[in-house]
């Protein structure tokens, strides 16, 4: 593994420094990127020792978080209703199917036009992708619940409210979390584009800005930072998911108990 990574980095260095290909020569080499990244006095103003670096991270994280939670709050209930109530699904499902083929990023201009200011627009497109992923996976989760669970609960005298609390939510939870992970990944994807098009701060913005200002090592620093933050956020969801779905862990972790 270490050999693989080291040799890839060396390859990158070699291609940039020693080959006669202009295409590679234009790229920043890994050494200068790392030097810039950990410099206390970075040439282009951004390193782990500068305040602005964290400001950009903070902006992006803030937007992604707001969008994610909006998607969670709206998407999960909507998905549950769609999965549970066929009539509701007939309305909402058709509308969703109708709007879904439009790639989320195509909403950027209209979002800027309709919403007051760029900030809500960026958050809106980020929200939109996360929302689709959350809703559809929640719907899938509810549909994947064994119908016998509903019947068993009915037999035992459960009301609709009981069924929602005791069957639908716990039954759909694993799929919901899968959906949330996908939603988080998709949110970062859109956020970067949104920030490039219409923002003044944030990692995505800075990537494009550094290009315009010919600060090439900073581009790579920002890309890597994005990768790290994105990875950390989905890891966080995975951990929370594992905690919340304890029964799954236990059911598969420990061996079968002996029978009497």
């Amino acid at each position: 593994m270490i050999i693989g990574i080291t040799s890839s980095v060396l390859l990158w260095y070699g291609l940039v420094q020693w080959t006669p290909f202009k295409a590679f020569n234009r790229l920043p080499d890994p050494l200068s990127v790392i030097i810039e990244w950990v410099s206390t006095d970075p040439d282009y103003g951004l390193s782990i020792f500068t305040k602005d670096y964290y400001l950009h991270i903070l902006y992006s994280t803030y937007r992604a978080t707001v969008a994610f939670f909006l998607a969670l709050i709206l998407g999960v209930p909507l998905g549950i209703m769609m999965g549970w109530r066929a009539n509701f699904n007939a309305y909402a499902g058709a509308l969703l199917d109708f709007l879904r083929p439009i790639p989320p990023l195509a909403w950027v201009p209209i979002a800027i036009l309709i919403l007051p200011g760029d900030e809500p627009a960026v958050i809106f497109v980020t929200f939109l992708v996360a929302f689709f992923a959350t809703t559809l996976n929640t719907l899938l989760g509810v549909r994947s619940i064994d119908p016998d669970f509903f019947r068993a609960a009915e037999c035992l005298g459960a009301t609709d409210q009981d069924i929602l609390r005791d069957i639908i939510i716990p039954g759909a939870l694993p799929t919901i979390f899968t959906g949330l992970q996908i939603a988080m990944g998709a949110a970062w994807f859109s956020l970067v584009a949104g920030e490039m098009i219409a923002a003044q701060y944030g990692l995505g913005f800075m990537i494009l800005e550094s290009y315009n200002l010919v600060q090439y090592p900073t581009i790579i620093i920002m890309m890597a930072t994005l990768g790290i933050v994105g990875y950390a956020s989905s890891a966080l969801i995975r951990v929370v998911g594992k905690k919340m779905i304890r029964w799954r862990e236990q059911a598969t972790g420990i061996g079968q108990e002996a029978e009497t």
């Binding site: 007939a90 990768g227 994105g230």
Partner: protein, 257 residues
């Protein structure tokens, strides 16, 4: 297919979609906050019929975007499938390079825009590269998962019947992976459109994404909406085409009861 048609054609679906357009129309006519400068659906249709339906420039945007999607998508298949197979079958190779792949994977495709522009000689090739990146990772992961999910019984059976390695690869492993390749294709085509549109807005002067963006910049919201609908339609059509190809790739799935 028929089932899908039935479900979208039910009257409740019509009501919902009609309601959507009605609200949009009313919001524009009543000049609700945010909708003061927005065009209503009727204006959009008028604009389309009057100025765009016969406009070569508009149809050229379709062609341009489709070309980019097609190239990005095809290159992603061309490189992604073999790499996924290699990861799945060759343990040494996997141990060496999978970590590198995993390091690069969380970087959103659009973050590659500047690097791509720097590296590639033409604007067109850099957009295609970004599109490629969008689909590439998904395809590799899907193929890799597909290889890992091959049923060992399927391999054992072939081995015990005396099949040589080449035959096992061609007639057992490859077909096993086809469904995963298909999943990668479906996901890939959707993401490719997403990436192309954004890349066009950020770094291009042509294509449907650009058209939409120009609608905004030039304060002609009708154009903006025409762009969006065109993109939606284009994405929908490509997905349908990809689905058709997939079902051709898996004749045994088509007949499933």
């Amino acid at each position: 297919m028929l089932k899908q048609l039935q479900s979208t054609l039910n009257w409740r679906g019509f009501v919902a979609i009609f309601g959507f357009f009605l609200i949009w129309y009313l919001a524009c006519v009543l000049k609700l906050p945010g909708f003061a400068e927005m065009a209503n659906p009727l204006e959009v249709i008028q604009m389309f019929v009057r100025e765009y339906a016969h406009d070569d420039h508009y149809w050229l945007s379709w062609v341009t975007s489709f070309q980019r999607v097609l190239y990005g998508f095809l290159f992603a298949q061309l490189f992604g499938i073999p790499l996924g197979l290699l990861f799945g079958t060759n343990e040494k190779f996997r141990n060496l390079f999978f970590p590198v792949f995993e390091l690069l994977r969380p970087i959103p495709p659009l973050a590659w825009v500047p690097m791509s522009i720097l590296f590639w000689p033409t604007n067109e090739s850099s957009i295609i590269f970004i599109t490629f990146i969008g689909a590439f990772f998904i395809i590799v992961i899907n193929v890799f998962d597909g290889v890992r999910d091959i049923k060992r019984e399927h391999l054992w059976l072939a081995l015990s019947l005396g099949a040589p390695r080449r035959v096992v690869f061609l007639r057992i492993m490859l077909p096993s992976v086809i469904p995963s390749i298909a999943v990668g294709m479906t996901l890939g085509i959707a993401i490719t459109w997403d990436v192309v549109i954004a890349a066009e807005m950020i770094a291009s002067d042509s294509g449907l994404g650009r058209l939409t963006w120009e609608g905004y910049v030039s304060s002609t919201p009708e154009v903006l909406v025409i762009g969006m609908i065109s993109i939606g339609l284009a994405g929908y059509l490509s997905t349908k085409v990809v689905n058709t190809i997939e079902s051709k790739m898996m004749p045994w799935r088509r007949v499933r009861r």
